[in-house]
Assembly symmetry: C2
Homo-oligomer: 322 residues x 2
């Protein structure tokens, strides 16, 4: 059997491994550099960074490696109603729901209003301006002439699909590669066509379906933890494997101590899907917030994500102190 | 990379493919024979057969092939309360819930009582008596001295695990191989240690974990539809792939016309998990019963399975007539 080498030649890498964006802490410039220097593709998780910080990280990474690297961003939500204006009653309800947790970790009552996410246009402007080797994105199609602008500066473009309809839409939009994200993937499961709960499709099933549906090279993600998984991904028709969790315990990762502990003690039955912790379907090690918020009515991502982000950070700080 | 050949030599097969048991219609002696004669391992789905019919099928299969084959049974539920005696209120509730569907397809009111499943001891007696090449089982450990009795007549024994704890328990019980059933698998997802909802683990993640945990050869199941999936399973450390859905459209399969139609028109977002159609977690193409029973309180498997079995059959008959 011959593997497809289209993905690795398109990405300019030697090893068919992509370090997934690990927003919110684990992703560091040092981790991305280590992956790049080992022959894979390191990724800067740009989604939660300001445009200025994103630019700093790109420049810092370039000092640590001369190999290709990727920057990942979240495209803005196309959802209705406009998430820039969450339903006030739902927003208040979520604030009330979270108030006792905030109190427990010593945070003041939450009075923040929007914007609820970093400005995508500013982030994207930095990406184009910096003429990076690879740009990857999740949660939708690139708005406007985004793909053309990236191609104009020589950047390879990779979108992310959780089902076949998303894969074909991405391929039609002109991306150079796409990542098929199976249900095992940790973190956000960013379905953007159809229902997220209907797109919880295992990597083993999803990757061949996506490979059959599109002509561009496919990268497999979800549940791949070592060389066996990478080889399996190549057998399924992918040209490379994107791995996130597998990198979270690396010394170069910014994974916080309580999260390292949780990952080390977790087993395969300790992970679960949640829709309420950030307002978007995500997989993680089961914790108190995930369990207690189950079934609650919360505002959509990115609003709920912002509402819980300082709480999650403070909770990790507190776990370290105790 | 070298595949492990321990599984195929233990099973006496030439091709690392096992046809999964497909109880309730799709499994036929002809399908099992075709798989065996092509070099794989065909399986008689014995779980829903009387001891007498099981014996007939084993003898009929032996006339169609001289290659090794398997018989699969469901071990009785160890669950409390004793499923032989379902809670009368829950049983009545389920009967009421199903009455309008029964009426719709022209079935009389349901007054059946137990036994709710075929007699396992009688079925198992036939299996031992017939000295079959391979015995596979799901939903638990073999009771009593079952493994020894099978070994005594030269039968190779394979159990089924949906998580690592089940895999190690099976290995300790003396089975020769075990099947790691990932979350993508169609039909019942028979978790018997821990919660079934916590053991919805993708094949890509589960198989390497199980391979690391046990010394016996592992067979991968779940989401494997063609040679790419079989190759991927081998990469993950399995010695063979067990495939069910992939055989359901074969001419030799007993899959009914409406089910063939549903499978042909379904896509990867049309399948869902249900706990209420049979009382045990199962994956299938979403249908009206699955949707409308969601969240209902129903008796456990095998009681609920028996309550809906004639309804499901009558509904398929009706779909053919219309």
């Amino acid at each position: 059997m011959m593997w497809s080498t289209a993905a690795i030649s398109r990405l300019g890498i030697r090893v068919p491994v992509i370090q997934a964006p690990l927003g919110g802490g684990p992703s560091t410039v040092e981790l991305a550099a280590a992956v790049c220097n080992a022959g894979g593709l390191g990724t800067i998780a740009g989604g939660y960074l300001t445009a200025a910080t994103l630019r700093e990280q790109i420049r810092a990474l370039r000092k640590l490696t001369d190999r290709p690297f990727a920057v990942n961003l979240f495209v803005p939500e196309p959802a209705e109603p406009d998430p820039a204006e969450p339903d006030p009653a739902v927003l208040d309800g979520a604030r009330q729901l979270l108030s006792r947790y905030r109190e427990e970790v010593g945070l003041p009552p939450d009075r923040r209003s929007g914007p609820w996410a970093e400005d995508f246009d500013e982030q994207f402007g930095v990406v184009v301006d910096e003429r990076i080797p690879v740009f990857s994105f999740t949660f939708g199609l690139l708005p406007g002439d985004g793909v053309d602008r990236l191609h104009g500066v020589g950047t390879v473009v990779m979108g992310t699909a959780t089902n076949v309809r998303e894969a074909t839409a991405l391929a039609s939009s002109g991306v150079d590669l796409l990542c098929a994200q199976g249900a095992e993937a940790g973190g956000h499961h960013g379905t953007w066509i159809g229902s997220a709960r209907d797109s919880v499709i295992g990597t083993m099933a999803l990757v061949p379906l996506v490979c059959d549906a599109v002509a561009v090279p496919v990268v497999a993600a979800g549940g791949i933890m070592d060389g066996r998984g990478v080889a399996a991904a190549l057998c399924l028709g992918a040209g490379a494997a994107q791995m996130g969790t597998a990198f979270m315990l690396c010394p170069e990762a910014g994974t916080r101590v309580p999260h390292r502990r949780a990952m080390t003690s977790a087993d395969e039955t300790s992970v679960a899907l949640t829709s309420t912790v950030t307002g978007k379907l995500a997989r993680g090690v089961r914790n108190r917030l995930m369990t207690e918020l189950e079934g609650a009515t919360v505002p959509p991502y990115p609003v709920m994500n912002r509402l819980t982000s300082d709480l999650r950070k403070a909770s990790a700080d507190r776990t370290i102190r105790n």
